[in-house]
Symmetry: C2
Subunit: 108 residues, 2 copies
Amino acid sequence: MPRPQRQVLVCTNTRPPGNPKGSCGEKGSDALADAIKSLVKSRGLADRVMVQKTSCLKHCSHGITVAVQPDNVWYQRVRPEDLDEICRRHLEEGQPIERLFMPDIPWE
Amino acid sequence: MPRPQRQVLVCTNTRPPGNPKGSCGEKGSDALADAIKSLVKSRGLADRVMVQKTSCLKHCSHGITVAVQPDNVWYQRVRPEDLDEICRRHLEEGQPIERLFMPDIPWE
């Protein structure tokens, strides 16, 4: 089976402006996903790490939400300035980044 | 961290008709993802199983492609008539379904 070593999932669900939940899309997740793809490629990880945009990852108010599988690690409020660390520490060295962990809250 | 027990990823990438790779979208993956969501809900799994639609999962010619994380199990050519078995055996009983395994081919 052609499993990726890791798969990065970026929520790109967009709700209309003013929606009380907010959404990852309106926080710029589409561009963030593209930036992760570029980093993965430039750091030579593209043969073992996949990056996908997804429908709602159910943590709208804590977005931008990013999940890394098969580690089942979920990150909240991911910003462009976090991406180098995610690539270097988590995707390359296998060390999840605790300061970005999604809190233990119900799915939205 | 609010991890799902399992996360079902359904490729809903669509290429124009006639594209030599084909695509999961033109094989009906959007409706397939909706059907999985309905099954997950009706079988009482919605509090522990997430279902997301994703951008290209890189196995276009073997679609509809479905990945189940964190098992890192990848299925090929998934049809509506496979969904009951996927829900019952894999999502509920934790037993991946070998006859649907993606062959060991490079990503497209």
